[in-house]
Symmetry: C2
Subunit: 243 residues, 2 copies
DNA sequence: GAAGTGATCTGGTCTGACCACTTGACCTCT
DNA sequence: AGAGGTCAAGTGGTCAGACCAGATCACTTC
């Protein structure tokens, strides 16, 4: 019994979490348009049946994310998240209400295809001694696994090491944000990504180019690795948009 | 009197803000190493002479930023921000304690040089009708201004429109994050960036390429625009590191 | 020694009060 | 009429203290 299911550890969202999630969803979905004013904290507390501190915590976190502006003495207003939110918002845009947003997915894959090769090139340029081993370990783990989903995880580990090698804090944080968006969508993307994640030799080639310290070769190898699945997804979206 | 000074609107940080800023600084500076446990909320409230809700708000915001992990029943622990923080953290890394962090600045300029041309190319590919006018307005404003700092702001407005034209939410949010990091450093970078921001014709050329709908030309034009200042800064850093 | 168990840490949540700021209606003097 | 001052009401900001709930670990018990 229990099958193969790993029994998720019971998502026990805290009250402020719940409130945060709910209002963020409303903003992202556009039901709360930019410029709109939120009900007062007391009112929200009353309506949602929670205490005011819980509301406050949620609103402050939204303010930090750039989704609302809260000013003492005045009502809290919704901001235009496309204008003011940072890359950390991406996860909530990619999977609103559990469904993959295709236009967001498109832009994420575009960004990945553009940034991946650059990071690989930087890694080739500055890679330290330990990197070769780390890359090899990640590829072996990837190879030893069959499941498309866990293979994607191993691929992420591989890239994680590449980003380490690139030694650029901006690209590092960028990767973290993209990964945070990508990770919850692993299953939804399993089919599309299987083709990429199965090409173990392509990973090997990339690792070799990086280890050899040849930026151009690494750039090319990364492109060869990332392009097919990206293109496949983009054309698939394109066809969906036609219909 | 009052000179030309715009009289900043008095930074009145709230108590939770203050606490947040202070602990974030400790984490970023490395004084609170990854794995370290924070004092309990009650203890922190006592030591910092503020209420517990204030502490909570700050800690929850830190958790959202990926800087700490807070679990009920156990102490709050510091996470490795290089591993878990998103791009939104960049501003606090670029200007810790008011001074520019050169290695962070290097990676930001690297990222800018890499992403800028791509965004320009995308804009050329998908630009709508209104873009040409917006770009022109931004360039005119830039041209009409003399101050290197405000010129940088106009340049940001210009890029803002380019990013709009690229029509990619991932790149949009990425730009927002980079801009948020860049903006507070405008003055510190004024000297280095003056050379770039004075080259009005380069902006014109880029705008033309985008408006013409020629991605390759736009890519090249953007590189021509961004590369000199980037290179100048990188070699400057390099020389500083030698000394 | 291993399993249970409870004291005591930790964060999670609520209540209700008061402070500080913004706004806008209203009032007043010019 | 218009410019300025005043004040009530609504909003977020902050606090104190209490109690709930999960995690830990030393201690008991078998």
């Amino acid at each position: 019994m229990l099958g193969g299911m790993p029994l998720q550890p019971v998502a026990r969202r805290s009250v402020p979490d719940e409130v945060f999630e709910q209002i963020v969803a409303d903003v992202v979905r556009g039901e709360l348009a930019p410029g709109a004013t939120l009900p007062s904290e007391r009112r929200l507390a009353e309506v949602l049946r929670v205490s005011r501190p819980a509301i406050r915590e949620a609103l402050q976190r939204m303010a930090q994310a750039g989704l609302v502006e809260v000013r003492q003495g005045d009502a809290t207003t919704v901001r235009d998240f496309r204008r003011h939110a940072g890359l950390d918002l991406l996860p909530r845009l990619l999977l609103p209400r559990g469904e993959l947003d295709l236009s967001v997915a498109r832009s994420v894959l575009e960004a990945r295809l553009h940034v991946g090769p650059k990071v690989a090139a930087l890694a080739a340029e500055r890679a330290g001694a330990g990197l070769a081993g780390d890359l090899d370990t990640a590829i072996s783990a990837l190879e030893a696994d069959d499941d498309p989903v866990t293979r994607q995880r191993h691929a992420l580990t591989f890239w994680d090491h590449v980003v380490d090698g690139a030694d650029s804090i901006a690209f590092r944080l960028m990767f973290n944000s993209l990964r945070a968006a990508y990770e919850p969508a692993l299953e939804a993307l399993a089919t599309v990504m299987a083709a990429e994640v199965n090409r173990v030799p392509a990973y090997r080639a990339l690792a070799t180019a990086i280890t050899a310290g040849t930026p151009d070769a690494a750039h090319t190898a990364a492109e060869h690795l990332l392009k097919p699945a990206t293109d496949a997804f983009l054309t698939a979206i394109h066809q969906l948009e036609q219909a």
